[in-house]
Symmetry: C2
Subunit: 424 residues, 2 copies
């Protein structure tokens, strides 16, 4: 552990983690078993197009969700598009401003207009009051996001959707295996979309799924996933290729089988982080909303600069230099990403987004998952604690360097030709 500020890697010391630790490092369990599954796929010759492993994967996902149908898709962004088309979204769709950009982009890609609503400070999910403020005669749907695996205020959102006859499609990319009010995520709204991307705690390398209890909607999604083909020579819909293939499905099946193991690793990690930061002023971990259960796949810390002594960006830069590849999702905010910011005023943003703006400045995500050990977390906790204790001197060093700090050599956010770059 560091004993002086100038030993920090940001200021030229050796990084604490020469091999960096990541947010979203793929969880891989049972590699030998998976390899044998992959071999069986290759031997079978049935590599894609409605293969047996995709069907088993769909059954496994449905089972976890307690929902009737799952339609496996090549990725969650495509799944959002297919579900939105199957639900006949049109005009405007209300989405949170504080989410991964894909929620908005999936709508924009198929000609819909994402309109950004604010989130609540304590859950980071859609604020029903802000949704109300975004409604217009052109609104056809709401796409709430169970961010960080924290379930939205599903009841309040359902009341708005019912009252205004809006469709509701949950972007549940982060929320596989989560629950609210005794129900599993997957049964809310008209449908829910999951991500099984490699960075998700359960994954199919790349993958997504649409989950619904509606027979009719599931049928439409299945057709849209495979070119709208409804018979050997019939094409009833303008569909695309959204198929997941058998190698991905095999990986997804093994991953779901390991869900309990990964879940308890996530929970243990979350508790350890809680223990190492709970005594520090100005930093707290975001808690799961009351009455809900999370998969704990993200450890989200909220920094209050005035008490912690450093800004979120300063802390992230310090951690990253040490090889703790913390993230500051979702800068710069969907509404300030150029495709939306550069549109005519009032198109995508028509309500203030004060919570989103604040969160963009003060939240960070810490490494977790199977690849993160208890020892790693204790060392990360030590670093955070050291940064907090030495905040004044660290700020002085930042100031001497005019904000420029050294990057970890494996950091993709560092420049290629120099280890020095503007931080934050």
């Amino acid at each position: 552990m560091k004993s002086a500020v100038l030993q920090l890697a940001a200021f030229g010391g050796l990084p604490l983690f020469p091999q960096p630790v990541h947010v979203g490092q793929p969880n891989l369990t049972d590699r030998e078993l998976l390899l044998s599954d992959l071999e069986n796929v290759l031997k079978s010759g049935h590599l894609t197009n409605h293969g047996p492993r995709v069907k088993s994967f769909e059954q496994a996902v449905s089972r976890v969700c307690g929902a009737k149908h799952c339609v496996a898709i090549c990725n969650a962004t495509t799944a959002l598009q297919i579900a939105a088309r199957a639900l006949q979204f049109h005009g405007e769709v209300i989405v949170p401003a504080f989410t991964f950009i894909a929620t908005a982009h999936a709508m924009e890609w198929i000609g819909l207009t994402p309109v950004f609503a604010d989130v609540t400070e304590d859950t980071h999910t859609l604020d029903p009051a802000s949704v109300e403020a975004c409604l217009s005669p052109r609104t056809s749907a709401i796409v709430p996001v169970h961010l960080w695996g924290h379930v939205c205020d599903v009841d309040s959102l359902a009341r708005i959707a019912d009252r205004c006859s809006l469709k509701m499609l949950f972007d549940s990319s982060h929320a596989f295996g989560c629950r609210s009010g005794g129900k599993s995520v997957g049964v809310f709204g008209d449908a829910e979309v999951f991500s099984f991307h490699a960075t998700k705690f359960v994954h199919a390398v790349e993958g997504g799924a649409i989950v619904t209890n509606s027979d009719d909607l599931a049928d439409r999604c299945r057709r849209l996933r495979a070119f709208g083909i409804s018979g050997l020579t019939e094409v009833s819909d303008a569909g695309i290729n959204g198929k997941m293939h058998e190698l991905s499905a095999a990986a997804g099946l093994r991953s779901i089988a390991s869900l309990p193991e990964i879940l308890s690793a996530n929970q243990r990690n979350r508790q350890l982080y809680e223990r190492v930061v709970s005594h520090l002023n100005g930093i707290r971990l975001l808690a799961c909303p009351d009455g809900t259960e999370t998969n704990s796949q993200y450890v989200v810390a909220v920094i209050d600069e005035s008490h912690f002594g450093l800004s979120r960006d300063q802390l992230v830069a310090l951690l990253r230099a040490e090889g703790v590849f913390a993230r500051s999702y979702f800068m710069p905010g969907c509404h300030r990403s150029s495709p939306y910011r550069d549109a005519a005023p009032g198109i995508h943003q028509r309500v203030p987004l004060p919570v989103t703006e604040r969160l963009l400045q003060k939240v960070l995500q810490l490494p977790t998952g199977l690849a993160t050990t208890a020892e790693d977390i204790l060392r990360i906790g030590g670093l955070i604690s050291f940064a907090h204790r030495n905040a004044t001197e660290i700020r002085r060093q930042y100031s001497l360097r005019m904000g420029r700090t050294r990057f970890h050599e494996a950091d993709p956010s560092g420049t290629h030709d120099s280890s020095l770059r503007e931080a934050g």
Copy 2:
């Protein structure tokens, strides 16, 4: 071999191929080597997001095409969308009516209007005269298809595109490894899109790619493939997830390495088919256009019912019952698929499509690829020859059965509850 018409499986005899032979059976070579590659991917932990195998795959594709850039995509339909967006298509896009529905659907999905032009009888690719007839002030692009791996009349199409300032994106899904006028497919138009779906002779299980010589276009496609992200915290475009993952890329790399072997199997198969049908009246194999080289991945037969004695549909039904799963792509024709047929008149079809209409009734595709042996082809040739010699009696049997014939038990086009179904 059959010695009497009633021994034909369609009329109750035993199928010649209890294990059916398919069009587009996946070519899998070097399974052990591929398995070891897949193991290395899993060991590396780098499963997707700009991994090393995707980069190698892109280099290998570029090399085959003699083109500067390849952007690997999860499938060709998504690749068409990304390329069309990167090229800023708008309004109407001219596509052939005789193609797999995905060519049109990819455009329709992103709000463009596919307008169907006719193809030529001798190449099955876009007829430049028909393209001219489809032009309107709203036309922004042409999307020709190198159908069956037969290269389009690229020069005539380029003249139209140049004269009218239209973009040109080739759907080269069938045409990896083909050449025209000494140039490889991949260098024509603004960009070309390949399919590496499992049914293609070289494949990445599911996969596609955009190939271009334009640095700027390649950059835009790369951004659109990964959510429009242009830096750690910058989003410059409204992109989606079009990423190919490392397991797919590993399969694609092994497949490209086997290209020469698969190509010569295809060529040998094509020659054998030629030999077994050349002496029969009313059936001929479609020839590769002069000055071009094909990958021979499709063996396309054209039936002239008045000379062959049976219709294409009758022959396909006979073959399928025997376990020769011939296909009759692309029934019912893009323009007569419900999403386009049901639109207002003149939107998608504004010129007559007589060649497309004829081809839809008279072409069929025969099994080929590594899984099809010389012995298979001789037996298939024997069946076709038998059907031709006994056409009168077969027609009488069809008539007695009012067109209803027996299906192969593995035939997905048969009904589930009965082995009898309307054929053709």
